[in-house]
């Protein structure tokens, strides 16, 4: 690089004297409205924002997913009942012809103990075929099936049956088999029904469908032979005790639960604003009477009256009561919001800016819409956010004790109620709906906390 400095002659008039600039102090922060400010504060709260995302995701799960994927919450897949979550599952196509069996001449048997309890073929859910060596002196064999390890002769489980002939040394079990492990026991008895010996065997059948059944269900066509493996309908989150798809039921259950959980609070908060606002605005005697009534409604035992409403509307147990539940939630939920709004309105009425607006000739409508409502909205929004989880809880609780949404309509609470019966053997039926309820409630609670801090809403009077 060159550093050629050239000198240029400059005339004096090329210069100009600068004026002294007095710079005023400028506020750099743009003026923000109450809501912009609150939004900025909320965004700084990471937990609240994540909860917001989660709520959006849950709403998508409930209302957008069924539009994208075809889900059927009511059709039953009887070949797959109470199956755990899995991505793929296959079934063996089998013949259902009875087994010819095995016989052995019992008079020449030398075994004193029952030995070699064996399987004649791969066990599957259509049939389990057992055979064994004959026992000396035995004329009858009894077969038992247990879902636990047998602890002794008196704990062999479900008696399946006994052999018909002394020479018969086989048994075929076709009784409602599942893909769970079973413990089969065979007991040898002599002519006097005395137990000679017994033996047990653990068997885990694989999933199978009979040929005729598979054809009827449309799993296979005529070209598929016996012994082939076919893929079963996919159930990502497993199935419930009636063979219904858990994912579909969770999605439609979310629709029910979120519908009640969000619409009911929206309605009763709206009612509360009108009632509380009116009470606070009117003041005096009317205010006193209105608030006394609200106090009475608050004093009603909430859950009892939720159930009572159901009875009063003539909903019998076993019938679905989404609308009664909604009405009951609204009828019992509004007073706390009304109290809150009234307290706020009473406070606002004394504020200088309201007085100023009044003095400048603002009409009542203007005062309410311009000053009262926007200032009350913060508190209302927070109480709405907290009302949603409690409404979801109420729905779940009522459906759980069988007083809410009834089958076949799915709801998270009702699903929990169904799932609790088989919690030990099929935990996923309770786990998924319970988890969704918990996550939803948690998200709304955390968002409510965040909103309360961001809006700086003092929840006085609640």
């Amino acid at each position: 690089m060159n550093h050629n400095l050239t000198t240029v002659a400059m005339p004096a008039d090329a210069f100009e004297t600068l004026q002294l600039q007095v710079s005023e102090d400028v506020m750099v922060r743009p003026s923000q409205s109450y809501w912009q400010d609150a939004w900025r504060r909320l965004k700084a709260n990471r937990r609240a924002i994540w909860s917001l995302y989660l709520i959006v995701a849950l709403l998508g799960f409930a209302f957008v997913l069924p539009l994208v994927v075809k889900l059927d919450p009511e059709s039953q897949d009887l070949t797959q009942i109470s199956q755990g979550p899995s991505f793929a599952r296959t079934s063996l196509i089998v013949d259902t012809a009875p087994w010819a069996g095995r016989y052995a001449d019992h008079s020449v048997a030398t075994n004193t103990r029952l030995t070699q309890l064996q399987l004649a073929q791969e066990p599957h859910t259509e049939s389990v075929r057992l055979f064994w060596q004959p026992v000396h002196g035995a004329v009858e064999y009894q077969v038992y099936r247990h879902i636990l390890v047998p602890s002794g002769l008196l704990d062999l489980g479900l008696p399946l049956g006994a052999t018909q002939y002394p020479d018969q040394v086989y048994y075929e079990d076709r009784l409602k088999l599942k893909t769970d492990p079973y413990y089969y026991s065979v007991v040898a008895l002599d002519a006097g029904h005395k137990v000679l010996s017994y033996s047990s065997l653990e068997v885990t059948p694989r999933h199978a469908t009979s040929y005729g059944d598979a054809l009827r269900r449309g799993l296979i066509d005529n070209s598929v032979a016996i012994g082939a493996e076919v893929a079963l309908p996919r159930h990502l989150l497993g199935t419930d005790q009636l063979g219904r798809d858990m994912l579909a039921r969770l999605v439609y259950g979310a629709q029910t639960s979120l519908f009640i959980g969000i619409v009911a609070p929206l309605l009763f908060v709206a009612l509360g604003i009108v009632y509380g606002g009116l009470s606070g605005y009117l003041g005096g005697r009317a205010d006193e009477v209105m608030m006394r009534f609200a106090d009475f409604v608050i004093a009603l035992p909430f859950l009892l009256f939720m159930i009572l409403f159901r009875v009063a509307m003539g909903i019998e147990s076993g019938e679905s009561g989404i609308t009664p539940m909604l009405i009951a939630l609204v009828a019992l939920g509004w007073p706390s919001v009304a109290r809150l709004v009234r307290g706020q309105v009473l406070q606002l009425r004394e504020q200088p800016f309201v007085e100023a607006a009044q003095l400048m000739g603002g009409s009542s409508t203007y005062l309410i819409w311009r000053h009262m409502l926007p200032n009350v909205m913060g508190v209302v929004l927070v109480s709405l956010t907290f009302a949603i989880p409690s409404a979801i809880f109420t729905e779940a609780f009522l459906s759980f004790i069988g007083m809410g949404v009834a089958p076949p309509t799915p709801s998270w609470g009702a699903m929990c109620n169904d799932g609790i019966k088989s919690f030990l053997s099929h935990p996923h039926e309770l786990l998924f709906p319970a988890l969704l309820i918990s996550v939803t409630v948690l998200a709304f609670n955390l968002l409510g906390d965040g909103l309360r801090d961001a809006l700086d809403a003092k929840m006085k009077g609640e």
Partner: protein, 314 residues
């Protein structure tokens, strides 16, 4: 003070009247007919039954009789259980619910105060974070899940020990009560912990604490004598509503643990549309709750003299 109690008693009485009326109106709005559950019957039998339950009288007279009986503490006869008085049902099953509820409330109150105080003392350090996380979880998980987990816990404990330490379900001995009461009190405990924490934090920055510190009062004395005592006050106010939450929350726990309490009975009565039992139980529960709130209010008046001066509402 006397005036305050009288005023509260009067309003409590009116509230109970309101609850009773609301129940009566609700039950008589039913489109169905209370005797529809019974088998097809001859008109004469039906007439007799209606006369027995007073259903043949005009509605206003029925209301009068209902209120009159209620005032005498008589809730009538059950529709589905022959010759069983609602009073007897309540007398038999309510004490069970009450024992469970009181136990749960004690657990909730003691736990809430202790945990709340701990979180406030260790503010923003790990004990605070851990406890507050557990609190958030406790208020987000439905009570029936906790009931199930509690039962499962007992089962596993018994299996692990090899003998039955705690019964899985039922009622009768103190060992039946521990886990159900714990499950029942959990939600309220979480709520009280939260309340106690914020109350403690508010008190910590109060002037009188600073004064006490400046005077050189030992820290432990400040904690127990000044901080804790003042912070407990707001916790006591919510005990009334907490009793309400615990008594009605008892339904689920009673169902899961097969406890023969009144809550379970109420659910059963609703399923069988046993009108007198439903009405009687609702009014009884309502009156009980109003009474509890009243007791807590009066108690509060004794503890905090500032409340006594009739400054209420607002």
């Amino acid at each position: 003070m006397k005036q305050f109690i009288l005023k509260r008693l009067l309003s409590g009485f009116i509230t109970i009247w309101f609850i009773a009326t609301a129940t009566f109106v609700g039950m008589h709005m039913v489109p169905g007919d209370p005797l529809a559950n019974a088998k097809a019957m001859k008109p004469e039998i039906r007439k007799n039954l209606e006369a027995r339950y007073g259903l043949d009288k005009p509605i206003l007279q029925q209301y009068g009789i209902f209120m009159g009986n209620m005032l005498q503490g008589d809730f009538g006869i059950s529709f589905t259980q022959k010759n069983r008085k609602v009073n007897d049902i309540i007398r038999e099953h309510f004490p069970i619910s009450a024992v469970l509820g009181v136990l749960a409330l004690v657990i909730a109150a003691v736990g809430g105060i202790v945990w709340g105080a701990i979180t406030a003392v260790y503010r923003n350090r790990w004990p605070d974070s851990v406890i507050m996380f557990l609190v958030v979880v406790s208020v987000s998980v439905p009570s029936f899940v906790f009931a199930m987990l509690g039962q499962l816990g007992i089962l596993n404990l018994n299996n692990w020990l090899g003998f039955s330490l705690l019964p899985v379900a039922g009622w009768g001995s103190p060992s039946h009560m521990i886990v159900p009461a714990l499950v029942l009190g959990l939600g309220t405990m979480a709520y009280l912990t939260r309340l106690m924490r914020s109350s403690m934090l508010e008190v910590t920055s109060a002037d009188y604490i600073r004064t006490a510190r400046a005077k050189g009062v030992p820290p432990l004395r400040i904690f127990f004598k000044h901080q804790l005592r003042n912070a407990i006050l707001p916790v006591i106010t919510v005990l009334g509503p907490a009793i309400a939450a615990i008594t009605t929350g008892g339904f689920v726990v009673e169902l899961v643990f097969a406890i023969p309490g009144l809550g379970r009975y109420f659910v059963q009565a609703v399923q069988q549309l046993d009108y007198t039992v439903i009405m009687g139980t609702t009014v009884f529960y309502g009156a009980f709750l109003v009474l509890m709130v009243l007791v807590v209010d009066i108690l509060y008046g004794f503890i905090d003299p500032r409340i006594r001066v009739g400054k209420r509402g607002g």
